[in-house]
Every structure is written in structure tokens, then in C-alpha cells.
């Protein structure tokens, strides 16, 4: 058993060991500190020349990584808090994501930017956001998020091996979670199947006690935890059966696994931690409806407000299990 944090850290160690083009850069990543969330721990001791501690300059970090990638290296950059991706928006959107297509496929930009996102730790309005939605649907940019169903190490290694620029979104609360190695699912009575792309798979978690689940719960990253708890509660207390579809690849949107589930359930409930409006769920809903008329849908997400520091307010702003349960009841009612 290993935590997501350990798997991510392992992936970086492994990638640096296997490929000397891999470089890691970011703020405060040197040992013994090893990064604000410790994902880079041990790297600077083992690969001193290829772990580059940077000044506080997010835009340059991203731009430098893009330049490294253009010239044959495989940089993995860390943005200390995902909230600061706003500072690299120009580098991602107008540089890294454009180069390959704009230069007629003459170049590749194999760059990974890792960004710890999410709230529920009382860090307040500028250190708790899930801003990945701003970067979903940006042509040329791949957005990926690990979860406990797939091996986070494999996912990060796949991102590092990707020829396209990847924004790798890590929810802070995911770090201490256990990766559910195959056969160790805490969801008994559910079968888990790997779907979609080999590189960034989705996972369909299906109840074995019914062939006709009532609804599909779509989520990614840490929100699998909310979805899972809600699904258990719905099963136990309401006899509402959920099939879960957990995505690793957020953008470009590749929804085949979801559509397969929806063809069975005809009801879609999306769960995400970012604020509701024009969040990830919106595109899921739009694509699903375009593909299948007559679906019923709901979205659970954060309120359209900044994220407060006080726990009582933060809890009221971010989505909770109860909200998922309520939406599911509504949807099946």
C-alpha cells in the first residue's frame, strides 16, 4: 500500500533515473524540505544537477520549462499552489500550447506543470482554489489529474512521456490517500474497469449487485472520495445505485467511458470542487446531451464565490457529500 504522495514522488524518482532528459524545477523543492507538499522529496539529493530550485517567478518557471522542452529536455515544473496557474496562463496558452501546431508540427513541447489544487485545509481565498477549469478546452494543452483508482505514478510517468504540454492537477487532500492497488478496493460489491485511453485511463466503477444502476456519477481526482461516500450512502439508505466514472484526463475531453455508462443509466451527475459556472461538468453535460437526447443531468460543484478561510464558510462554499446525495435523489426522483 502506498499513498498518492508516495506514488507521485516515486514517479519523479523513476523518471529521473530512467531518462536523463528529465529535469525538475520549482520553488523550494530542494531537500531536506523537498517542496511545499513533499512531492519532490529526495530528488535533489539523488539528482543534484537536474533539480533546479527557482526564485518566486511562476511565469518564468513555466516559460523556461517550455524552452527546455522545445530543445530536447523533459522538464517537470511545480507551481507551489495551483492558485498561481493564473501567473502562467500566458506561457501555457500563448506559448507552450501553441508551439507545436503553430509551427506546423515541426516541434514538440513535452512539458509537465504540476499544480497542487483544492481547498478544505483552511488556506483561504488565494491558496485553496481549483482553477483547472480555466485551462480545460485550451487547444494544445492536456490536463490530467490523478486519482486513487489508477496508479498515480503511472499517470505522472505517462504525462512526462507525453509529447504535448500537460497540466497535472493534484488535489492537496489526495496526497495522504491510499492508492487502491488492483484488488484492494474499499468499494466492495463494485467492479472497476479501466476504460478510455491507455495513457490517461478513466475508471468505471459499477455495482455488481445490479445490472441497471440508476445514475452515473462523473468525477475526477479527490472528488472520487465524495462520490464514493455518496454512492455508498445512496445504496444503503435510499436504494439508489450509482455507477461511477472517474476521469484521469480532463482535457481534451474524451467522454467515451461516460457515454457508455449513460447509455445504461440515462442520468448524469457531475461532481467537482471548482466553482460551478463553466466548470468541468458543463462540458460533460453538453457533450453527453449532444450525444444522447433525453438525458437528465445535475452538477455538484463549489458555489460561485471565493473560498473563505473560516472552516464554517469554506464548508458552506465547497461541495459536500450531502450535496451529492441530494442531487442524486433529485435526479432519480
Amino acid at each position: 500500500m502506498a499513498t498518492v504522495l508516495e506514488r507521485l514522488n516515486h514517479a519523479l524518482h523513476h523518471a529521473m533515473e530512467m531518462d536523463e532528459r528529465v529535469y525538475v524545477l520549482g520553488e523550494d523543492i530542494l531537500d531536506p524540505y523537498g517542496g511545499a507538499f513533499k512531492v519532490t522529496r529526495g530528488l535533489s539529493t539523488k539528482f543534484p544537477g537536474r533539480v533546479l530550485p527557482t526564485p518566486i517567478s511562476e511565469a518564468a518557471i513555466a516559460g523556461i520549462a517550455a524552452g527546455m522542452a522545445l530543445r530536447g529536455l523533459r522538464p517537470v515544473a511545480e507551481v507551489m499552489f495551483g492558485d498561481f496557474v493564473t501567473l502562467i496562463a500566458d506561457q501555457l496558452v500563448n506559448h507552450a500550447a501553441k508551439f507545436r501546431w503553430m509551427y506546423n508540427d515541426n516541434v514538440r513541447v513535452p512539458l509537465v506543470v504540476r499544480a497542487p489544487m483544492g481547498g478544505r485545509r483552511g488556506y483561504g481565498p488565494t491558496h485553496s482554489q481549483s482553477l483547472e477549469k480555466m485551462f480545460l478546452g485550451i487547444p494544445g494543452l492536456t490536463v490530467v489529474a490523478p486519482n486513487v483508482l489508477g496508479d498515480p505514478a503511472e499517470l505522472l510517468q505517462a504525462a512526462i512521456a507525453d509529447e504535448e504540454p500537460v497540466l497535472f492537477v493534484e488535489h492537496k487532500l489526495l496526497y495522504p490517500c491510499q492508492w487502491l492497488e488492483p484488488g484492494h478496493s474499499e468499494l466492495q460489491d463494485y467492479s472497476i474497469s479501466k476504460m478510455g485511453s491507455e495513457r490517461y485511463p478513466a475508471f468505471t466503477v459499477s455495482p455488481v449487485f445490479t445490472t441497471t444502476p440508476h445514475l452515473t456519477l462523473a468525477c475526477y481526482g479527490y472528488n472520487y472520495e465524495l462520490a464514493r461516500q455518496a454512492a455508498l450512502e445512496l445504496t444503503m439508505e435510499r436504494e439508489i445505485f450509482c455507477e461511477l466514472v472517474v476521469f484521469s484526463q480532463l482535457s481534451p475531453f474524451a467522454l467515451d467511458p461516460l457515454l457508455a455508462s449513460l447509455s445504461r443509466t440515462r442520468r448524469l451527475l457531475t461532481v467537482e470542487e471548482g466553482s460551478l459556472s463553466l466548470g468541468w461538468g458543463a462540458e460533460l453535460v453538453a457533450r453527453s446531451i449532444e450525444a444522447q437526447d433525453g438525458l437528465r443531468v445535475r452538477r455538484v460543484a463549489a458555489r460561485d464565490l471565493p473560498i473563505a478561510n473560516a472552516r464554517s464558510l469554506e464548508d458552506a462554499i465547497l461541495p459536500q457529500v450531502g450535496a451529492v446525495v441530494r442531487a442524486a435523489v433529485e435526479l432519480t426522483g
Binding site: 511545499a36 501567473l87 483561504g124 458555489r303 473563505a308 472552516r311 464558510l313
Partner: protein, 306 residues
């Protein structure tokens, strides 16, 4: 306590009181984290008290301030009371901003802070423009750390401030580290050169003596208030606590050595024993009251979606 409407006191006792207030507030705060009463994290100002006390002894009460993640000391030296800050840190509805902001995001009268490094400087420059246009006579002070010299927004703002002769004082508190990163790894060239490049005059001091800080700040503030444009004040100092909580790569020996520069110890001999005891009693009482009262206050609730 130093209040907003009280004329600013900058005698030895007042300066000591301000510094001790900050010190005791932060120590109390760090201790409170142990009790589980606080969520999130915080950045203590312990060790840097001479900066805030000295700078605000030179500024005027109504001047505008934009501070950063390490803002408690600035707020208290500016004249803010400890109670609403304590309440904010405890996530109470009576906090400075009702519990919405927490440690890094506070606002009180003409004082503001935000937790995004560097991005506060253009905002402060815009405030300075507004104060000049509105002929308020106020100047704007913005506080950044050595690490924040890495952010591009700073240089964009320095260019504007110099071109437009804005009444802006940029205070750099160089505590030799950005989180765990020593300045040697993060700041090329010289700090003073970063301002000189834009024709912005620099006052630079390597001291933890509040009187020296105050003297330099007085000159810099006078320059800015006189309408001659922006200035910078670079203060080399030390932080004694961890960056936030537990993130400190420095050895106990290094920390021990730093204690020699404790601004309270440097300044204390200028007071009599009686004065020091009196101040200590006042400050302790004020902080006790602040935390006790805040503790009993209600939690905020979300009333409406705006």
C-alpha cells in the same frame, strides 16, 4: 494600544510597545495552533518587528498600506487592534473580514493584504496614483520580501511608479530566506540595483535597531510625500520562527546566532526596567483579552450568494 486616531507615538516606549505587541501576539498565535483552534497556516513576523515599528513610526496614520502573507506585524504596527485580528485568525464572524480572509487576506481602514506574491505591487501603485489624483496627501506603502523580488509584476510596477512619479514606498524586508530558499539562490545582482534600474532612490539598512529603521524610513517617506516620486527602503533583517509552520531548513545553531539581533533586545536597554514591565503588562493584558474575547465569538455563516 496604539489606536487609529491617536497621534502616532514614536518615543522609545511606544516603539518598544509596538514591537512587543507583535512579538507576543505572534507567540500566542503560534501556541494557539497547537490547540486546534486555528485552521490553515500562518506566517509569523517574529524577528522582524523593528521593520514594522520603525516604518510606521515614520508614516502617517492615514497612509495606505498593502501588505503580504506576513502581515500581522504590519497591521499591528499600523495601529490595528489585536482583537479583530485574533478573531479573523480563529475564523470568527467578528474577525477583520468576517473570517473570509484569514491570516493572509485582511483589510482594515486603509490597510490591505493579499497572499499572492508580487501581484500586490501593481495594485499598490494604482492606489498611489489614486491618492495623488485625489490629492489626499496620503502615500502608499507596499511590503515585499526578498523572495518576492523574483516576481515580474514588481518590475512592471516600478517602471510605472518611476514614470508617473507615484507616491509609493516599496519596503523590502530581506529576511535572507524565501520560505526555505536562501537569497543567494534566488536574487542575482543586487537588491538596490533592482530599483536603481528604474531611477528609484534606495534607502538600504542592515539592522534590527528600530531607531535606525525609523531614521531611514523617515527619509524615504519624506522623499515620497514630497512628491518626488517613488522610493524604496531595503531592510536586511532576520526571521526567528519558521516560514509558516515547520518549514525551516536552518540549524538550531544558526537560529541561536540570530537571536543576537533580536530587535527587542536591541531596543530594550533604552527603556527603564519599570517601563518595560509596564509595557509587558499592558501588552499581555491586551492580547489575553483579544484571544479570549475572539474565542467566545460566533462562527460566520453564509447568508446569501452575494
Amino acid at each position: 494600544m496604539v489606536g487609529y486616531n491617536t497621534p502616532r507615538m514614536d518615543d522609545h516606549v511606544s516603539l518598544y510597545r509596538t514591537m512587543l505587541l507583535i512579538r507576543c501576539f505572534e507567540e500566542r498565535l503560534l501556541a494557539a495552533f497547537g490547540t486546534g483552534k486555528l485552521v490553515g497556516t500562518t506566517h509569523a513576523y517574529i524577528g522582524q518587528e523593528a521593520d514594522a515599528a520603525g516604518v510606521f513610526a515614520a508614516a502617517c496614520p492615514g497612509d495606505v498600506v498593502f501588505s503580504n502573507h506576513r502581515c500581522h506585524g504590519h497591521y499591528l504596527a499600523y495601529g490595528g487592534g489585536p482583537y479583530p485580528l485574533a478573531a479573523e485568525l480563529m475564523g470568527k464572524s467578528t474577525g477583520l473580514v468576517g473570517g473570509r480572509g484569514g491570516s493572509q487576506h485582511i483589510q482594515w481602514r486603509d490597510f490591505y493584504s493579499n497572499g499572492i506574491q508580487g501581484g500586490i505591487v501593481p495594485v499598490a501603485a494604482g492606489m498611489a496614483l489614486a491618492e495623488r489624483e485625489r490629492q489626499s496627501g496620503k502615500i502608499v506603502l507596499v511590503f515585499i520580501g526578498d523572495g518576492t523580488l523574483g516576481e515580474g509584476a514588481l518590475y512592471e510596477s516600478l517602471n510605472f511608479a518611476a514614470l508617473w512619479k507615484l507616491p509609493l514606498l516599496v519596503v523590502v524586508e530581506d529576511n535572507r530566506y524565501a520560505q526555505t530558499t536562501p537569497v543567494e539562490l534566488a536574487v542575482a545582482g543586487t537588491m538596490a540595483g533592482r530599483f536603481a534600474a528604474f531611477g528609484i532612490p534606495v534607502w538600504e539598512r542592515d539592522t534590527t535597531d528600530v531607531l535606525e529603521v525609523k531614521a531611514a524610513a523617515t527619509e524615504a517617506v519624506a522623499h515620497v510625500r514630497g512628491g518626488a516620486g517613488p522610493a524604496s527602503l531595503i531592510l536586511h533583517t532576520y526571521r526567528f520562527s519558521a516560514h509558516s509552520k515547520g518549514d525551516d531548513p536552518r540549524s538550531p545553531a544558526e537560529l541561536e546566532r540570530l537571536r543576537r539581533f533580536d530587535p527587542l533586545a536591541v531596543h530594550a536597554p533604552r527603556l527603564t526596567d519599570a517601563e518595560r514591565q509596564q509595557v509587558k503588562a499592558e501588552v499581555t493584558a491586551a492580547i489575553d483579552e483579544a484571544f479570549t474575547r475572539a474565542d467566545a465569538d460566533p462562527l460566520p455563516a453564509l447568508l446569501s450568494n452575494r
